[in-house]
Symmetry: C2
Subunit: 301 residues, 2 copies
């Protein structure tokens, strides 16, 4: 149990990480650029924009965190793959880490991405798969990790770097794939999708969050895939949602092309997560999609 | 001929780059954290600390540079290999590049380092030698380059990255190898050195500066070694200085160990510089050491 500074605590993944850290009994100091949005009351909230000068310094001084879980980044749908804001967040993350180290922090867990890998493999593992990010997002995360690993190692501070594959679930942005499909089908509208042949390692967002809490509580160092190890096509994902909503006829397959540069297959080797952290995801794709549909049904319009 | 923003313009290498850019006829806007120190009057001087918020923005807005030559970094002798200031300069450099791109800049040339390479080879070339920096300095420069290449490529801005090997010459820091040897011998004091067996690609600082001016004027993109292609032992360098000063008996060989982690050999492949930029260094080691000794003799104490 530690005093943990959590960034991005109102974000899609971060809000679930907040719940998982509280469940684990940590003294969580939750950070958000926005007003704290009424999430779990057991956390201490701090409002800060980490991209602004002096903000990391102020918050780290106020919290004196023993541990850091850094989920904040620029994630605007569609834009984030190539946006310059990725560079802003590289700078902001390095600044935050310098402050954390200078304040005597002991362990940091940061959000990485499968986009750090060279997208050319059947399966990706942390030790042998080549790194050659194809996007600004992947380049910025990869470069951030390179500097972070050296900075924290030299300071005697532990660093784990969770490479998240394809998270989905409640609170995902409205314009992202599963959210937009569910919203359209619930409204009785047609939805245009690609042929959906690309295979992804979809992981339910609460499993991502529990994995990060488990990684924080473990002694693992360096990059570690946060994924299920199972590949499913985008078609399977959409079909599950459409079946559960009961409107499969509204899906217009092949009416949009896949996004340029998207690799056919992104599936993780998860032995490190299983063996070194002892964590296995517990929510399968059918169950996860069901929970996401239920959340959308119950969501205030 | 361009309007060039030059950073680090009062530094060891930067002051020589300033002269080379003025020689080439550019409209040079020279930047320094310190008071402009009376260097060539043909430049327009700006005082700024790029590690402080808002300074890059202010200077880039004032200059509206067509080209950027970025030589500024943290270079405190002994400390810079492992200092956290390398992270500060990664952040500062990325911020400067964002401002340069946003202001419509067209071509940037940045100072890289041979410390980006995995120190394990007979010779290093830009295309095939593996990158695995062994120091914080090397990691920070390498990560900066990775982000810079993507950021500028996405913005349609040219980037060349000059990997400097072992520069020496007038105005080098007093505590660095050749400076400290010359200063001691001129003062008639003994000087403690290692056995000096390590081989380096020493390049006279004015050749480094002319190479950067030539790279700016070329169309070359990406990493390019700035070196001579010739290896000389540290012993040769020190012996040349001692012979020219006439006090070889004051050198205490082997009285200090080589710095831990120093590779035995660091020599560049310079075909890219010769063939794609058309630049060859013109000052040999004997001549360069002679000029450096002469500068020390004439230097006000």
């Amino acid at each position: 149990v530690s005093r943990v500074l959590l960034t991005g605590a109102t974000g899609f993944i971060g809000r679930h990480v907040l719940a998982a850290l509280l469940d684990a009994g940590h003294d969580v100091h939750a950070l958000s650029r926005d007003e704290a949005s009424g999430a779990a009351g057991a956390a201490t909230w701090h409002r800060a924009d980490l991209t602004r000068a002096g903000e990391s310094e102020r918050v780290v001084a106020a919290v004196a965190p023993e541990a850091l879980v850094h989920m904040a980044w620029y994630v605007e749908h569609g834009a984030y793959w190539h946006a310059r804001e990725n560079v802003v967040w590289t700078e902001a993350t390095l600044r935050l880490l310098r402050e954390f180290v200078a304040a005597g922090g002991g362990r940091a867990v940061l959000a990485g991405t499968c986009a750090e890998y060279e997208w050319s493999r059947e399966r990706y593992d942390e030790r042998t798969s080549p790194l050659a990010p194809a996007t600004m997002y992947g380049v910025a995360k990869d470069a951030t990790r390179r500097v972070a690993e050296r900075l924290l190692a030299d300071a005697g501070v532990e660093l784990a770097w969770g490479r998240i594959f394809m998270p989905y679930g409640p609170h995902e942005g409205d314009r992202r794939l599963l959210s937009s499909v569910i919203a359209a089908l619930l409204a009785g509208e047609e939805v245009a999708v690609s042929e959906g042949t690309h295979v992804r390692d979809f992981i339910y967002v609460e499993d991502v969050a529990r994995a990060f809490a488990a990684i924080l509580g473990s002694a693992v160092l360096g990059p570690i895939n946060v994924a299920t190890g199972s590949g499913h096509s985008i078609r399977e994902l959409v079909e599950l949602a459409a079946a559960q909503i009961g409107r499969p006829e509204l899906v217009r397959w092949g009416s949009v092309p896949p996004r340029e540069g998207d690799p056919p297959r992104l599936v993780a080797d998860v032995r490190r997560l299983a063996e070194e952290v002892g964590f296995e995801p517990s929510v399968g794709l059918r169950e996860g999609v069901g929970r996401t549909v239920a959340w959308w049904r119950s969501r205030p319009r």
